[in-house]
């Protein structure tokens, strides 16, 4: 049944376009990164890429190619919005986008039975195609011998073995692409793709079986070790214990491992602050640098080690293949609150940042399920909350052990748990009252366990560090400078002295803080906290920097620039600190998240509703926490 695909020749201009297509989690993004030098996120689970990405590669003869990485799909009949993206691009039905000149069908060599179905459907489009047999090393290690020459003959197109995560085979792939384009640089086929014929899954599977019998007759048994591991990890009781233990370990490590690097950064910032104070004459620039930049920006920078430790574990879990198993394990819980099991990965992504989490909901086919997931995604504790939590826990939770576990780590675990429980509770209410839909069963391909790739891990951590540093050096720095200006001017009257209160009380920020205090006083927030909440709207961790700047300008000496924690511990009550923690569990303080919700839902209704319900929840939770802590005797501090 071999068919060859000869390109037709028509006039064209610009570089050729190559589309990477394949099942989810077959290594398309890793191959894309390898071909283009890009740094797209890759992980060992399905649904990481939900949007087409584009980069450039170069053939051996210097010819440039545009490479498009498409979301993974199991078939050309789309079931979810991300699969629709793939189909639309391949059929030229996406506005303003030309049909790709060539398809590279990326295939997981260890799972040909599943992957070849899509390849057979792609063959039906009648477009030039090359098959990249990815993860060829794992297939070999599993004892799977694939006759690539015979496979090429059966599929009617070149087949190249690749190992994208180890940077193998991409040159062979580019070499195989060459002949398609070498015939004429100026004239190359751009005929319209044939509409895919309605494919019968049973017929396709029969063809796959026939081909497999020819090219890989001996299918290796799945490793016994993986079965044994799954028996524990996916056990309805033991699995939950393992999951809780893993999360516990992460939050313990966030506090215990970060102490040394955080102390080093603190000492570095203190030294820079002292040096600046000693080497500059008193004046506005010195105040800006010491009270604004070092106290504010430095106060946020200190949390870099904790953020990197958190992401180290998240990346480790992503690469190992554990996360989809956790999704399977929690499907029962998700189903009970009315969410789709597919909501797990978007909600998990929201631990890094709600924005990619909200975008990842495109893998959810049912609109109501998708909307419910979008609405609760901001309740998952994003990494921007970590500096706020760490600051307040460091100031108010004593450093002691409970049953051999750090109390601070336990508190952080509790706050993350509070986010998850709130998200489930809100989803339950939404799905019962507003977004009713029937339970959508979870169908998820479980990837094999893999040793995490050190290269992916290092690259992922490097990316996270860069993102954090760009935020610190960009939006956080600029907001701190503006806040310093608003906290310094107007200056106090000429006859002012320190006995009349801090100079900041006369400034624009001071006046605003005192006005906002009428709203926030029932929650136990003072005017300094009220000021910090305003720039915190841009990014949550700015609130930490803002507190640093405001307290630094309120203090008689520059000690606040060195350490904010002891100052807060001395000036706030325990009830105020707990109330602020409760506020940050719910607070809708991220304009970017609301903007992305507007974009993904194509309506202002949902982001406004989200902001309103989160604000109401935050206010109610803070008030309750404040009153309860006062009642329990938490006023001192």
């Amino acid at each position: 049944m071999a068919r060859t695909m000869e390109p037709t020749f028509t006039q064209r201009s610009g570089p050729f376009t190559v589309a990477l297509v394949g099942n989810p989690n077959c290594g398309k993004s890793a191959l894309f990164n390898l071909l283009t030098g890009a740094r797209q996120k890759v992980a060992n689970y399905a649904g990481v890429t939900v949007e087409r990405k584009q980069g450039e590669a170069q053939l051996a003869d210097g010819q440039r190619l545009v490479v498009v990485d498409l979301p993974g799909a199991y078939s050309l009949s789309p079931a979810t919005p991300d699969e629709q993206v793939m189909r639309d691009v391949l059929l030229g039905e996406r506005a303003g986008e030309a049909v790709p000149d060539l398809i590279v069908a990326v295939v997981d060599a260890t799972n040909l039975r599943m992957n070849l179905r899509l390849v057979l459907e792609l063959r039906g489009l009648g477009r030039p195609m090359v098959v990249a047999l990815n993860m060829a090393d794992v297939a070999r290690a599993n004892g799977l011998a694939i006759d690539t020459a015979r496979l090429a003959q059966e599929l009617g197109c070149p087949v190249v073995q690749t190992v994208a995560v180890k940077a193998h085979g991409h040159r062979d792939l580019l070499h195989a692409l060459g002949p398609f384009f070498a015939q004429s640089a100026a004239h190359y086929g751009a005929q319209a793709p044939q509409a895919p014929a309605a494919s019968n899954a049973a017929d396709l599977q029969a063809q796959v079986r026939r081909i497999l019998a020819l090219v890989a007759p001996i299918a290796p048994a799945r490793a016994r070790f993986q079965h044994r591991l799954d028996a524990v990890v996916m056990h309805p009781v033991l699995g939950l214990v393992v999951l809780a233990a893993v999360l516990f370990l992460i939050f313990q490590a966030v506090f215990s491992w970060a102490t040394v690097p955080m102390d080093l950064i603190k000492q570095g910032m203190a030294a820079v602050g002292d040096w600046t104070t000693q080497s500059m004459a008193p004046g506005p620039l010195r105040s800006l640098l010491v009270d604004g930049v070092i106290a504010g920006v430095g106060g946020v920078l200190v949390f870099l080690p904790q953020i990197l430790i958190l992401f180290f574990f998240i990346l480790l879990l992503e690469d190992s293949g554990y996360l989809p198993r956790a999704a399977f394990l929690l499907d029962n819980v998700m189903g009970k609150v009315g969410l789709s099991g597919r909501a797990f990965i978007p909600l998990l992504s929201s631990f890094a940042c709600a924005i990619p989490g909200i975008m990842a909901t495109r893998t959810i086919a049912n609109w109501r399920d998708r909307l419910a997931t979008i609405m609760v995604a901001p309740l998952m504790t994003c990494s921007a909350r970590l500096p706020v939590y760490a600051l307040l826990i460091g100031a108010f939770v004593p450093e002691r052990s409970v049953a051999g576990l750090s109390l601070r780590g336990l508190t952080l675990f509790g706050l993350y748990l509070a986010g998850v429980v709130s998200a489930m509770a809100v989803a339950y209410v939404f799905k019962r009252v507003w977004m009713k839909s029937s339970y959508q069963p979870l169908m998820l391909e479980l990837p094999p366990y893999r040793y995490p790739s050190l290269r992916n891990l290092a690259q992922g951590l490097w990316e996270r560090a860069l993102i954090f540093l760009r935020r610190v050096g960009g939006i956080i720095f600029s907001l701190m400078v503006i806040l310093w200006f608003l906290s310094t001017y107007p200056a106090p009257p000429a006859r002012w002295d320190a006995s009349q209160g801090p100079a900041i009380a006369y400034s624009a920020a001071g006046i605003l803080g005192h006005a906002l205090q009428y709203v926030f006083a029932p929650l136990g927030f003072n005017w300094q906290i009220s000021i910090a909440l305003v720039p915190g709207m841009a990014a949550r961790e700015v609130a930490v920097g803002a507190l640093g700047t405001v307290y630094s300008l309120s203090a008689a000496d520059s000690g606040v620039a060195d350490a904010l924690s002891p100052v807060l511990a001395a000036s706030w009550s325990l009830a105020t600190a707990y109330s602020l923690l409760a506020w940050f569990v719910f607070a809708p303080q991220c304009l970017s998240t609301l903007a992305v919700v507007r974009r993904e839902t194509n309506s202002w209704r949902y982001p406004l509703l989200m902001a309103a319900y989160l604000f109401a929840l935050a206010y109610a939770a803070s008030w309750l926490t404040y009153r309860l802590t006062l009642w329990l005797g938490g006023a001192g501090g």
């Binding site: 590669a57 620039l285 960009g474 939006i475």
Partner: protein, 84 residues
């Protein structure tokens, strides 16, 4: 007469205000503003920088710089190229 500290401070505050406004304004406003600014007789490097700045923006966290799904086909993303 303003001291040198006042001048540098004023410049930093104005630059920070412009940067924060640019970063936090809605993407559509940023595109309109860039379109208007590109009409000015700017040097080539400034035009290039301005064009690139339109695509980014926001608060630079994960996903903020992702293109809109509605405009994904129109916005091209270019990456550093690795030679084969």
């Amino acid at each position: 007469m303003l001291a040198w500290q006042d001048l540098i401070t004023a410049a930093l505050v104005v630059a920070s205000f412009c940067y924060a406004t640019w970063s936090l304004m809605p993407a559509r406003w940023r595109q309109i503003l860039t379109g208007a600014m590109l009409q000015w007789p700017l040097p080539a490097w400034a035009r290039l920088r301005l064009s690139k700045a339109t695509a980014g923006g926001a608060c630079q966290c994960d996903g903020c710089e992702q293109s809109s799904p509605a405009h994904a086909a129109e916005k091209k993303i270019f990456f550093m190229q690795r030679r084969p």
